[in-house]
Symmetry: C2
Subunit: 444 residues, 2 copies
């Protein structure tokens, strides 16, 4: 066969990069679990009718077909790959409601797929880390306050540039547009959401096309301009002179989110009244997050409150959640070599092999080290020791173990190949300094 | 919408089961890393020509199609979901050969998909844990000896029934059939591989159809009957009176695998000369593994040596690997409630909420506990304490924290709700016994 080439939009990492990704995922898991979120996983596929029910990404779904389907079912399987983790989660909650404890806190770290045109930060296959809380019938508002803090905690625990979360509330926008007596507030939200893409003039044109007057357009753009790191957005909204009960509710909710974040994670959060999120299922708080210094990348963590996504008959399961775009984050940071790992293999010790017949004895040395949690491998060949040391060097393995007399599992010597220091050591008791035990993640 | 129902062949777990799966995966990862295997992940899709190149599973591939593909590319995307992790790994090695260090040891724990008819132990979506070693040009044989021991280690570290690995060598079978002067040894391997399914009479019939004489059939069946936990298979083969250099090589290799396992993992391994593995890419040692007491489930860990899977031009990357069928294992054990977890949430402490205005103070208590690695959540509502305790009880959360005077983050009291014991405690210093910190996996 010919040498294969990469598939655009389906990123794959080299071993050190994959190790960085795993450490990042592991630390996120740890933070989510510290906050009481249970792990969950859903299958990769959903029935197409589930996938096409909501939102504007339906056109990007990958549909499955069995290659050798029988003539009588040669059509598609009726299944598609999920394009996010929220829709599958809502379906899972409905399917298993009788066997879950509510409020249900879960995290979910999985791949998702979208058949869109690949570009930086936008992939056809990508990994997300989601946290959500859902409850039966009603979900207390305080979760809208808590969840961005959990994400803030998860990201703060990583060697990343700082993040800034932009928060708005759809009730605020929708109430404002209703108070302004605009005909279709939901449509206005969609138009204003494009502000960063098409600019104020573009938004104005589209609002006029919807029948908005010059005064209404001006008010919409004035609202969208409000962005404050503290509660001063409240006065700025009031100053626009629009009144509506839904607007008041939205302002109060957004104020609560901003206030709590100011205490628990100063600098994390900004009230930004142009944020809307494209997906139709959000009904209240909405979140978007930029990596400071990498704003062009777009949002690396988005989400919001969805009161109506999961419902069947009279059962309703409102929720709120956030999704970290791991692939987008890593695509940028690994692409710029902004993250490093101290070595690209887990191995801490290479047991040198004096000659091939000594392999069983060397395996015993390795087993003794592993029993005490020290990642160890035995040299692939009984080459000259110089070559075996270079094998370790090329992989960043910090220690080479030289078996003692008779190559037994008794005392031998261990060499730190970075310093050249070589000392007698017993495989039953020797241990490396803790910092050398596992590969260490850092920012470059 | 109506309440959704499960999709046959696409298993999903409830939260406690998912937690069990995660702990099992984490322990496997830990063992693989202790043995110096680096983590790797490949994309979920491969070009169809890669997937259809080898083996007999091609008919079960799921092909992708973009739902809203343009008229000019309304056909399939030319991509399919991978049906195992070996084919994608071989492709990855070829694609990245210039940037990898050889011999390359990696593990890979991912989902795979096959469009086959679901039944117990056979899914359309399933998780595998693979380990492989590949080298450039030639791969020393000692890896055929090492890899089953790594898997034995990984499985022995789990609360599972014991496993028994059945090992054979295709050189042995092929050499034997060649020495017998059978016309198509590769085809004979495929026929004998069905012995457990169709029985000796069925195999005899199929061999006769291939042109085998009664004597040849008898010898083939006699070889297939040989199964010994020690080196006595060597004499049993010799007694059949067939000679061939490839047969000798196969016998010697199999003897080396059996001998090493007898030392490092007594009872793990059996030489079983009927094992062949369906996939065409194996060229030497082949492995299959049963869970003792669950033999009907089929193999839960299979693999072998493949000398020709990854090659492009004059580059060749022989490998050996094993794949643990995590979904198959867990489908059986979780289906029979054979594994338990001490609680279905990570949470160790629930901070009780005296009243809603105290939430910020309770969040501070929770943050103090989390800073010291104690998974904590705050009560969802300021219900009566009795109801809050029941909330913890239903989830198996062992401790409820009662904030002190003024609901501050200063000293309060902590109750072990299993014993009822309630003691003064400071969130800056209190810690649970280590066994309560995280959910504990056990066999039922």
């Amino acid at each position: 066969m010919t040498r294969p080439t990469p598939l655009s939009g389906f990123p794959e990492w080299l071993p050190p990069q994959r190790m960085i990704e795993q450490q990042i995922v592991d630390r996120m898991r740890r933070t989510f679990e510290l906050h009481g979120f249970a792990p969950l996983e859903t299958r990769a596929v959903e029935p197409l009718d589930q996938l096409l029910r909501k939102g504007e990404t339906s056109k990007e779904v990958y549909v499955l077909r069995r290659l050798q389907a029988d003539a009588k079912d040669a059509s598609d399987s009726g299944l598609g790959l999920h394009f996010d983790l929220t829709v599958p989660f809502a379906r899972y909650v409905l399917e298993n409601a009788g066997r879950l404890q509510f409020p249900f806190r879960r995290y979910q770290i999985q791949k998702a797929w979208r058949g869109e045109r690949p570009q930086e930060g936008r992939y056809r296959e990508f990994r997300q880390a989601d946290i959500d809380v859902v409850d039966r019938d009603t979900l207390p508002f305080h979760y809208d306050v808590e969840l961005p803090l959990v994400v803030g905690d998860a990201l703060a625990g990583l060697p990343l540039p700082p993040v800034r979360m932009h928060v708005n509330n759809r009730k605020l926008s929708q109430g404002f547009y209703r108070g302004l007596e605009l005909p279709d507030p939901a449509e206005v939200i969609r138009v204003v959401d494009k502000l960063d893409k098409v600019g104020p003039a573009g938004v104005a044109g589209q609002l006029e096309a919807l029948g908005a007057s010059a005064g209404q357009v001006k008010a919409c753009l004035a609202l969208a301009e409000i962005s404050t790191p503290d509660l001063s957005f409240v006065d700025a909204v009031t100053a626009l002179g629009v009144t509506d009960p839904l607007l008041d509710e939205g302002v109060a909710e957004l104020a609560a989110v901003v206030e709590a974040a100011a205490e628990h994670a100063p600098g994390l959060l900004v009230a930004d009244l142009k944020i809307a999120r494209g997906l139709d299922y959000y009904t209240g708080t909405v979140y978007e997050t930029v990596l400071v210094g990498h704003e062009s990348l777009g949002s690396v963590c988005s989400g919001g409150r969805y009161d109506n996504l999961a419902s069947a008959g009279t059962d309703r399961f409102p929720g709120v959640g956030l999704s970290i775009g791991i692939s987008r984050l890593l695509g940028r940071l690994l692409g710029r070599d902004a993250l490093t790992i101290s070595r690209p293999v887990p191995t801490c010790v290479l047991v040198a092999l004096p000659d091939e017949p000594s392999r069983p004895a060397c395996l015993r040395v390795a087993a003794a080290l592993r029993r005490r949690g020290i990642p160890t491998e035995v040299s692939p060949t009984a080459a000259k020791y110089g070559r075996q040391i270079r094998y370790a060097e090329r992989r960043g393995i910090p220690y080479v173990w030289f078996p003692g007399e008779g190559a037994g599992e008794g005392p031998g010597e261990v060499k730190d190949i970075r310093t050249g220091e070589q000392l007698p050591a017993d495989p039953a008791s020797w241990a490396p300094p803790p910092a050398d035990l596992h590969p260490v993640l850092a920012s470059a």
